[in-house]
Symmetry: C3
Subunit: 397 residues, 3 copies
């Protein structure tokens, strides 16, 4: 039996037919089977590539990337995923001013999609905006396709919005699954998603939100820890609670990093900005109040500075399960005395987890590719089998 | 009979053999048969793509884009066209200063063309410069190829110059042909190419010039309307007159938007800068007189402001043929109370024509691809037939 | 016998098996056989392309380019080489600040390499930095591959560092080989690598260093000429001396351009900055002493201005072998009264050599492709034969 077969067998037990021709906005909009299908297809694509078998399902076609925030990791992951499937990447550098009104979003979405099979968008900076923008784009291209403007309807991959960061958190989770030896090993494991100090300001909320929204689906005990005032979106906390209730896990909150780390199997210490402050910032931005934004920034930096003790130290790591919790980070991390004086993590901790961290990141291209694959292939199992049988070499050795 | 066959039959009636190994600068440098061939190949390529048949005629190779003015629509159309044929796009971001003298144009043209099958250039900002620059590039690569520097001679596609915007205007015309049910339905139709007010300044003349230079070839009655002083290049008006005389249509001018719209079958209301002012601006730019350019700009904005009544309103639309003229625009349009207070078109008019407008734009990638195809294939009919027979799927379903 | 066969026969006489899975940093780290293999594979790939035979050895995969200095020629050459072999180029625009410490280099190198088969880096601005940076990247991806982070280990191509410019100098040499009718014709030929005046400041040393480090390997008499104080790195002069001693050629220095040109078969007049000044500049940069850098620049420009007579004039050209030495330049050249008042070369000289200069440049994509090919193919001779036999057309005629 080929190595691929176990993934095909797994896929045959899952119902993911609604993903065909769909989009990927938020993990909690997907069923458990659909989430499992993404993980399985990601593993299957990696399995084929590791055997030097081409996974191109497109002979030509474009993958459009639209980044409204700087990015290296996600940009290269998206480019890798598109290339893996046979799509050429075209970047749209859209000035912020151009997208002020719905008319232009609708128009732009169509104008860039003539040959587009995928649109990847990162828009994480303003509360209430990023996810909405992605829906506007999807509505526009859906209409464009129905109206005969576009021969194909591109699939949307959320490369980070104000609510969720699905490609990151699913790569994180796939790394956890592989580390613990399978999804069935996760029940009862304790996960500490905790705030950590960073000298920079205003990091998006999408990672902690994405983690509590996704990790609570696997029967794990997820603890969200942060200093007072650094809450995330209440709606996402509700999602986490409901998930936990359904899967026999738990979701709890604390203002103590030590409490969260105690006996944890997985720790994810990372800086983010308070939700309330991000909302205020969005309002100020909407009013064009740049002085107000400057004042808010100062205030937040001062508030941050009171929490420099929120750092993933060796001492804290010792309190985790057997002193060996799996340390996660979406990278780049703020490392003490390396990238800054005081940061999210001690240099020795970060160093010890460097290889696992890079592996964690290495799942992202496959997660993105799997999302595209499931949206674009009517019968993904059949296609995977056909790719293996076709056996086109990726690299002529 | 396959759907493709009707296009092949049409092509078999046309003489376009001189397009092989050629370039595309201005529509009026091409014969009627050549223009018809571009439309037909564009339709044929779209027909194949709609059937999910790959139209890649290159296994590898580059399409170089050189934009000397910002662009989203044309850039993505060019990228789509290249991708459709199997070429990878490489953008050249050339600083304006680098191209001050002929030496560097010749050198740069060769240095970017080692693997280039196509060069797409947009250079529309200075009268007497853009089209000339394209010829300089073509002369350089033609020599480079003859001298053994370049293994292939790239074909030039004019993506907008100071004189014409052939890919835009041919996409416009193909949309008109499809809307009216065939080129033979166009005789006697009235086209209003009219100026319209925009709060911005200095829009290129290439669209109105391209339209009167192309639409007059189909026996249509083309009216060019603009306020006094907003003339286009006299040479292009001459082209329009000669075309009209040959095809039994007409070309006339008026300073009344109402007169142009009256009973029109097609309206194309769009802002442009007066030709005389653009010439003056080019001179000032050549002398490095930035104060002079600033003064000219102010003067022109004031002049524009006197013509806010040049707007495509519902009232005007009612005066067109059955109140239902086809509204054209190259996008983006300045829409009243949407993208600006006073603009080129009323929001309700624009909205009603949104789908046709997007369809109009959707022809551009195919027009560009057809221009490349005709320059690169010795026997385009044979190649199209071979592509259909090869039947490589664009997307493995 | 096919035209390709003579290249295969040549390759069969060479030992280059250590290039497999390797990198290309400096020419003098490679054996004579390895250098010969690069030239031969470059010729073989060109031979196939000229016969319209596809040389794609990758079905998918990325070539990452990382330019820390502006570039048009090298960027397009790298893109051409990648495209020729089937790789899609992704550019990394890395801010200089991001790479301040080793941690980030290691991380970035892995994060951009998930699907990367090649990384091309240009980093030539600071003495002691560029080449070191390339090694840091290679070490990082080698570890990443060993640790299971990366499925493949990308090969590094040095697109110009502080020490050598191997892709340029090998393209230069391949042009010389073709011009003189074979590598065996080079023994005893005189090469003048000379400094020339340019109004600009701080041009890298990598070209003169690369030339004396490479050209001395072919039994030629290489003369390095420059005004007093414009020395290159002493380590590279040592390399040149040893090479010359081994091959029966010579390496000498002079402060007279006339002496260098006298009876020369090849002349390469080109501006560069004094090594000592570049070192000083690197120190000042390290200390963030921008005033110091400004003062140094003024000083150097004044120093340069004392040597405007270092120009490749018609008079000097007449003193070369039969008055017809082969004139080389890596382009763009500073041409008298064309790109500047006083420059490196008289306009009439440059003009006479324009076609050979463009041909010289045209070898660079093939040199880069050959370096990649030799690092990626276990049995390059077999692969070249297989490509010929496969006979996939690059362009469907």
């Amino acid at each position: 039996m080929s190595e691929l077969q176990k993934y095909l067998d797994k896929l045959n037990t899952l119902n993911f037919k609604d993903m065909y021709n769909g989009h990927f906005f938020l993990t909690w909009e997907k069923t458990d089977d659909e989430i499992a299908a993404v993980f399985t297809v990601a593993d299957a694509l990696r399995c084929l590539r590791e055997q030097n078998i081409s996974t191109k399902i497109f002979d030509s076609g474009l993958g459009i990337s639209l980044f409204r925030d700087n990015s290296t990791r996600t940009r290269f992951s998206f480019a890798s995923a598109c290339n893996l499937l046979g799509l050429e990447v075209q970047d749209l550098d859209e000035g912020k001013s151009q997208i002020a009104h719905g008319e232009t979003v609708r128009e732009t979405a169509n104008m860039i999609s003539f040959m587009a099979d995928v649109i990847g968008i990162r828009d994480d900076m303003y509360i209430g905006k990023g996810n909405k923008y992605m829906h506007d784009v999807v509505n526009a291209v859906t209409e464009g396709n129905a109206d005969g403007v576009l021969e194909q309807k591109p699939t949307l991959v959320n490369l980070q919005c104000d609510i969720d960061h699905p490609t990151q958190c699913m790569a994180d989770m796939l790394h956890v699954i592989h580390t613990f030896g399978g999804v069935e090993q996760l029940k009862g494991k304790k996960v500490a998603m905790t705030w950590a100090y960073s000298p920079s300001y205003g990091k998006p909320l999408s990672v902690p939100q994405g983690v509590i929204g996704l990790f609570t689906r696997f029967g794990m005990d997820v603890v969200l820890a942060h200093p007072e005032g650094y809450d995330v979106m209440p709606e996402v906390e509700e999602v986490a609670k409901k998930n936990a209730a359904k899967t026999g896990g738990s979701f709890s909150k604390t203002n103590s990093m030590a409490e969260a780390f105690k006996d944890a199997d997985v720790v994810y210490p990372k800086s983010w900005a308070p939700f309330a402050a991000m909302e205020k910032r969005t309002d100020l931005y909407g009013k064009g109040d740049m002085d107000g934004i400057g004042a808010l920034e100062k205030e937040l930096l001062a508030q941050n500075a009171g929490h420099k003790d929120w750092c993933c130290t060796e001492e804290l790591m010792k309190t985790t399960k057997d002193g060996k919790a799996l340390y996660l980070h979406c990278l780049p991390a703020d490392i003490n005395d390396v990238s800054c004086k005081d940061g999210e993590v001690a240099a020795s901790v970060f160093d010890r987890y460097r290889v696992p961290l890079y592996k964690q990141a290495s799942f992202k291209p496959y997660i993105i590719a799997a999302m595209i694959f499931l949206a674009k292939q009517k019968d993904p199992v059949k296609t995977l089998k056909a790719l293996e049988e076709r056996g086109v070499l990726r690299h002529v050795l």
